[in-house]
């Protein structure tokens, strides 16, 4: 009896001790466990707004934790610039000095559970006498990144580009097309790529759009094809340039990019249903780009010429024609000789 009782006591005390050890050990394990990858969704991204000078403007940015663990995040302001040569966005680690002091956040640091949304209220308190537009980025990252004892630690962050136009007198919306051309003056087959370089020479952010009309001549009433320009609604910030591409691929045959594993190559696509789109000769591309100057659409027109000459097809066609013509000539020559022989025989027999 006592033995059984002792056994029970021993069993229960052992179990309790084991459970206690497990419960005590668990926080240690989790503390040592690997921090999950940074996973965040933000909206809107980019953030584009028009704000008033001299009044507080409120912008809302929603952040969702799409990871598997609770995260404590921070939001900061960063500057960026556009590379004049490449048009690439160069994000910086520096705060935008010209506007940083006027920006404040409802929650500069915040904790967010998996699947949870957090709405960040951003206050922009521009003085009355201010600029006409500002562009910068909000960057969201972890407040603390657990560093690996050896090897690499990878820290993630998300930037939200923010473009602000200031609604105040003196704003100048002005855009120039500094160049418009096809990437080559001669193509064997389509596609033909056009590059239109826009420069924002005003002081507010603009969003041009338009079309490239492909014509035989610059004054043709009808176009062969109409291509969109900036259909992705890209913005151009003051003082910067942006190259916008348009591709004319409405031809037969046409080069298409084929992805095979990690390799990309150009393959000719012979879609016979597009035989009527066979392109040969000189063409004119007419760019009509439009931006709104605050009152009306302002069109900008540029033209570029280029040649499409499928020389290999032309060579084959010429060879076929030459063989055919040679055959005809030979047949005619034989007929002519036969006719002459017959004629001379006839005259001989008459004599």
């Amino acid at each position: 009896m006592i033995k059984t009782w002792l056994k029970r006591v021993f069993f229960w005390s052992g179990s309790v001790a084991t459970l206690t050890m497990i419960s005590l050990a668990s926080p240690m394990v989790s503390a040592q466990s690997e921090q999950s990858g940074f996973s965040v969704q933000v909206t809107p991204s980019p953030l584009v707004a028009t704000i008033q000078p001299g009044v507080q403007s409120k912008l809302e940015l929603k952040v969702k934790n799409i990871g598997t663990s609770t995260d404590t995040l921070k939001i900061e302001t960063r500057s960026f610039k556009i590379d004049e040569e490449t048009g690439a966005v160069d994000l910086s680690d520096n705060s935008p000095a010209e506007i940083a002091d006027w920006i404040s956040y409802s929650d500069p640091t915040f904790t967010i559970k998996p699947g949870e949304w957090q709405t960040q209220e951003i206050t922009i308190d521009l003085p009355a006498d201010t600029g006409f537009s500002y562009s910068f980025a909000f960057v969201i990252s972890r407040t603390v990144v657990d560093k690996a004892e050896s090897g690499n630690t990878i820290a993630g962050s998300v930037a939200i580009f923010t473009l602000l136009n200031v609604d105040r007198p003196g704003a100048v919306r002005k855009l120039e097309v500094t160049s418009f051309k096809a990437t080559q003056s001669f193509y064997e087959y389509l596609p033909v790529r056009f590059k239109a370089k826009f420069k924002n020479t005003g002081n507010v952010i603009v969003q041009p759009f338009g079309n490239v009309f492909i014509q035989r001549g610059s004054s043709d009433a009808e176009s062969i094809s109409t291509l969109p320009v900036n259909d992705v609604r890209g913005y151009i910030i003051p003082g910067s340039s942006r190259v916008i591409d348009s591709d004319w691929a409405d031809g037969f045959p046409v080069y298409e990019t084929v992805v095979s594993g990690n390799e990309e190559k150009e393959d000719l696509n012979w879609d016979w249903s597009k035989l009527t789109d066979f392109r040969i000769g000189q063409y004119t591309a007419k760019l009509i780009a439009v931006y709104n100057d605050g009152m009306r659409d302002v069109p900008i027109e540029r033209t570029a010429t280029f040649w499409v000459f499928p020389w290999r097809i032309a060579l084959v066609a010429f060879a076929v024609f030459a063989v055919f013509a040679a055959g005809i000539v030979m047949i005619l020559r034989k007929l002519y000789l036969a006719f002459r022989r017959g004629k001379s025989r006839k005259s001989k027999s008459n004599n």
Binding site: E34, Q35, G37, F38, S39, V40, Q41, V42, T43, S45, P46, V48, I66, G67, A88, V89, L91, S92, D93, A137, S141, V145, D146, K147, A148, E149, S150, G151, N152, T153, I154, A155, G156, S157, V158, A159, I160, F161, F209, G210, N211, F213, A221, E222, T226, V229, D231, V232, R233, G234, Y235, N262, K286, I288, V290, D293, M295, R296, D297, P299
Partner: protein
Amino acid sequence: MTKRLIVERVKRLQLSVLVLVFVFGVIVSPFGVSIASAAMSNVMVRFDNITANTATTGTVCAETNQSNTEASVHVTFPTGYTLGVAGNFTVNTTNLAWPSGASAWPGIGTATDVTSQEVTFPSTTLSAGTTYCFNWTNTAAVTTNATPGTYADGLVALYDSNPTLLESAEFAAATVSDSTINVTATVPPAFAFALSANSDSLGDLSTSSVTTSPTPRTITINTNAYAGWQVWGKDTVGLTSANTSHTISSTPGSNLTLSPGTEGYVLGITSSQVAGAGTVTVNAAFNGVGVNDGGALDASLRSLATSDGTADTAVLTLTNKVTISGITPAATDYTDVITVTGAGLF
């Protein structure tokens, strides 16, 4: 038919063609111009919205070169432009960024007639050498051509009270594709960025081979941002051992191929995408298709990859690659912190 006869006939044909070209080019063509009225100058018909199939207001300007007694101005809009009734063509003479030196059109008023594409406005006598303008102020008056294109068959003409045509000049117009931005409160531009894990243990490094990430970490991007996305990266100063004060690093800026036995440390990136309008382009310096290839990071943010459109599960695979030499100090604490930042573009 003799050979000489054939040559003779070809020569005659060539001569006939030349004569025809001459007659048409020198005699008929100028006559074609001369039967038209004298041309005005500084003619402009400007549409305030040139998006296809859009109701718009606009401005008409012209300058006469003659002294006549004008009684009306007729504006013929290009084919395909839809016109409202005459009463919709209300006008004003507010200077809305008119050409420099332009004056208000005298006697201008609401249109009196619309026939086919031709709209008749009343006018009084214009002074030669002065540019006059007026605006039509009701968008119900004109709707642009529904098909994007250039249309050169517009005409502005001045008539006297008979009405006899005094002067005219053509103008061209253009329409472009719809510029409406279809962003609503329910579908705002969003950007999702998911890093598969935040550590990448490289294990024991070797002089005889290039050590690569055993489980390369991935960045998965989903976005409906029209203009695409971009990812930047930076690190501290390479793989550094605090115990030995030694750093394994490479020179950034170009694509490098690591060679076993020669110290080096690069990040190689490959990409894939399930769907989306964008094409992912890995920065050439970080192209990691080759097993020992990649680019070095440094303390400034460098572009790792971009895309020019929307992305459904665009994945960047980040593979760290390291080699050591025979004199690389032994230590167990070589670490680096790589920071990657993603954003939807504008």
